[in-house]
Subunit: 310 residues, 4 copies
């Protein structure tokens, strides 16, 4: 009981145009730590408070974007059970079991494509390195932090067409909960859905878009609003391309800043939000208030935010 099933976003595999430049960005600007490279040259990274070997994987490619997104589940048994349920759901395609070790230091994974065309996987086992403060009389934060220094990879926002089917998949098959939604007139049309598998306000989110399989952003969590300012300063000090922020989201209440990695993949670092519970009503944002929903202070969307995805 308590927290079971799908535990959290386990890893995101990002395509980058220049690997060295990307590694510099994710380690020096964001402040992740490189934990390994595989035979194909992919670079594995983790944040300081994460226990597992990696949460971000970078692959050099011709085009930026997300290769796939992995969810950690609580046990091999859950992995098997969810694989059966996913197959039976009729909502996923191109299912495949990836054997242990095909991803560096990671157990077997069940892969599938969701209705919006994004490739995802579930897995139960990954080598652990421990968080950087350790588990014996730990300090509250480790020495050696650099850059924005998020404690964890937190979530992603993905764009695609059939987000209704995604909602069904994540809620009814994978056991997620809908925390917030953006709706069109008469609440009849879903523009965006925010889903959690935990106490967090979101672990994954989908926005309706004309094009499938798009990444809007990969997000990392900070310790507070002063760390958002610190991140904003770093963005300017290092001439990183800023999208928008510092500001607050209406949705999730998070304090946020968006920027781009050197390949054009959007990153977010954020703090705050609320403690979500399954008996809390879904929060509904109406399309008339979508500006305030996304950027609470500006109350209007910028073009880049809506249209630039990878």
């Amino acid at each position: 009981m308590a927290l079971t099933g799908v535990l959290r976003p386990g890893h995101i595999v990002l395509r980058v145009l220049d690997l060295d430049e990307a590694v510099r960005h994710y380690t020096q600007v964001i402040g992740l730590f490189e934990t390994g490279r595989d035979d194909e040259g992919r670079v594995f990274l983790k944040a300081w408070d994460e226990n597992d070997h990696h949460s971000v994987v970078l692959r050099e490619a011709e085009q930026a974007g997300m290769d796939y997104f992995g969810w950690k589940v609580d046990s091999e048994q859950t992995l098997d059970d969810l694989a059966v349920k996913l197959e039976a759901s009729g909502l996923v395609s191109d299912t495949r079991w990836a054997p242990e070790g095909e991803q560096l230091l990671t157990g077997r994974r069940f892969q599938f494509t969701i209705p919006t065309g994004h490739r995802m996987e579930i897995y139960a086992t990954k080598k652990t390195l421990g968080c950087m403060t350790g588990y014996d009389n730990p300090d509250p934060w480790p020495d050696g932090l650099r850059g924005m220094a998020p404690s964890r990879f937190d979530h992603a926002l993905l764009y695609g067409r059939d987000i209704d089917a995604n909602l069904t998949l994540f809620r009814d098959v994978l056991g997620f909960n809908l925390t917030e939604q953006v709706v069109g007139p008469d609440r009849k049309f879903l523009i965006g859905v925010f889903l959690t598998c935990s106490n967090k306000a979101h672990d994954i989110a989908f926005i309706r878009s004309d094009e499938d399989n798009r990444l809007h952003h990969a997000s990392f969590i900070l310790g507070g609003w002063h760390e958002v300012l610190h991140a904003a300063d770093i963005i300017s000090k290092r001439d990183v391309s800023l999208d928008i922020g510092p500001t607050r989201h209406g949705i999730t209440r998070g304090e946020t800043i968006y920027f781009f990695d050197p390949s054009g993949n959007r990153n977010e670092v954020f703090s705050g939000g609320y403690i979500w519970y399954p008996d809390r009503p879904v929060i509904t944002w109406h399309d008339t208030e979508i500006g305030r929903a996304i950027f609470y202070h500006d109350r209007k969307l910028n073009e880049a935010f809506l249209n630039v995805t990878t």
Copy 2:
């Protein structure tokens, strides 16, 4: 899946020596909102971001302390199942079904006494009032906040003798997880256990003590370290009795301040901590480092903190 079973601390029923004074403290100093009174004069309160009718109940009595602690579970079915498991566990005593409505606007409750002598209950249903920002295009915080303005009642720390049996009860019967522990020499002796039923670093904690059924503190969550300072200032402005703080806990990493209500019940407001997952190792604090574990900056315990309970 995801978050199931026992959801969270649902309510704490506190005994206070002077009801009016207590209501003033919990509403004006802490900043809860009174939501109702029952026939016996008990006062019901909630924090601004809570959905349910109450999370704190005040009862006037000869002696301060905690009457009982209630856990909200995810469904009536879970309530029934857990009641059976609790009965079967042999770890609880004086079990009783309280009928719907016996507690104001609350459904049926299954009551029991845990090994350390504290009275607890589980329930699945309570009237909802909604959080103060509502669920349609909500603002991030409501007008009308006052005092320290915590968003939620968060947890309690209880003192008693057989905390080993408590650990078994909460972990094996109620599905909690052990997040942190304080141990004696050779890790052989449990001095304190911190347990979660969620992503939070703790939902309940027990410290070993010579006396059973003691309340160390009831804790409320704030939005950040600057709100801990604001709370500290209020403590002094209103001549509230301070225990210790502002400071940081080693355990949970939380930023904290402790103080006393007018009856001598200890309160905490805190912020921060980490996002816990079931695959994270238990953090162990050794008795040699207990000062740093409790008060990370001072690295020593004050007498009041150890010995004053209600």
Copy 3:
């Protein structure tokens, strides 16, 4: 010695289109306190930590903007001396002695028009009300705060043509210091000058513009970056027109948000900056870096910021 001569911005007199609406804005949104009204209906306001009777005066008029700006000097003797120096400088026009009491509860004032066409005055005496925490065993902040709750009126930024002459006037006649400047190619052309009469990074600033006698913004000081977020939230909660922010200035390092009063006068609330000393070199921003100078994170100017003045 120490701090002498011109002490600080003493008051700004703003024209507003609808007095009631303006009073609501300056008292409920910004959080100043109304301290009086004069025979002509002007409304006098002060911030909570200010000792004198008023720092902002609102006058209903057909057109928004600034009537005049007042500087408090350290003594009646200084007032007389500076009046002589101003007359002798040849840099000011339309000089006039306003008798005691012509401005509510304010002593005699020496008025003049500066090269950029703005009306200013110096004065030495104003009735004191005391700051809201008092001067005997004061608390760090008073009860009754509301809105953004700045502690003081801090500075104004004005637009006009001959800012070189303004620089000479403020530096050589009034004893200000140049803290930062924005310059054109080869440092030959002044685009902006930031001037202090204290330890603050600026007490007044001028930006070169095609039109004289324009107000860019009146600014109030907050206690930190978390108060900038609080102000930003209030802006959205109360549907105030936002200009830009939260963000940071390159110039002065201040953390800031800009918005408009209901008449279109721009307001700023900000925090931070540095402690300035007269032996610190002037900071120079080159026109090629003007975006970063003004908005450090965005590194580009928005149209409204440049062109909207009153």
Copy 4:
């Protein structure tokens, strides 16, 4: 005009028992930067936002404490004028002109002993290194910060007997202003005086004590309350001896933490406070409220704070 005469605390020369240990403390824990050593092995340090070559000097000695305290004045002319005034005042003893270069990279200095036995000096010239962000299109903070990373040396608090004479000296001869005072019954007896030569709430402070020529603490300024927490965490991570904090002062409103260097000299890092002006009334704290005056949250003095000086 504006800021003239004595500008600021220019340097403090501290005696330390082990130079290497002290350098590690002041550079790695506090985060000053070593800028030079002289022939006698003294180590010169500055904070990142300071323009001049040094603000802290460490000298190895048998006994901890303060050798002397230096004030920077605005010009050589002021230096000469103040030297004459000091001689004429009858309030200082053992006056001496130290020639240029006797202190590393520092101009001629006029030295004197104040009524409480502390050795002080004034000087107008010191080699400048520039602040670490430079003065051309500067970033708001530099790379390479470490430890608590204060921006400046801010003030010292000294203990001695005749603080009335000190008050006369600093106010009437050196042009300081009294900002706050702690008084005995009937306001007849000065327990403490807080003096400024700027807009800051204090540049020097004296507390009455039975013993002359004692150093209570040397203080450095941080950017906000979150940096006080960061400093507190560093204190514990590096096993530095904590005195008290994080907390708030009633006097000056500052947010603070006190700790000891390895030789037992007390350090403070703090943030906040108010903007002081010469027309602001003196704040008076009554001895009955001295606890709240010093430590606003605890409202009681700890023994170490009162009695441990060097």
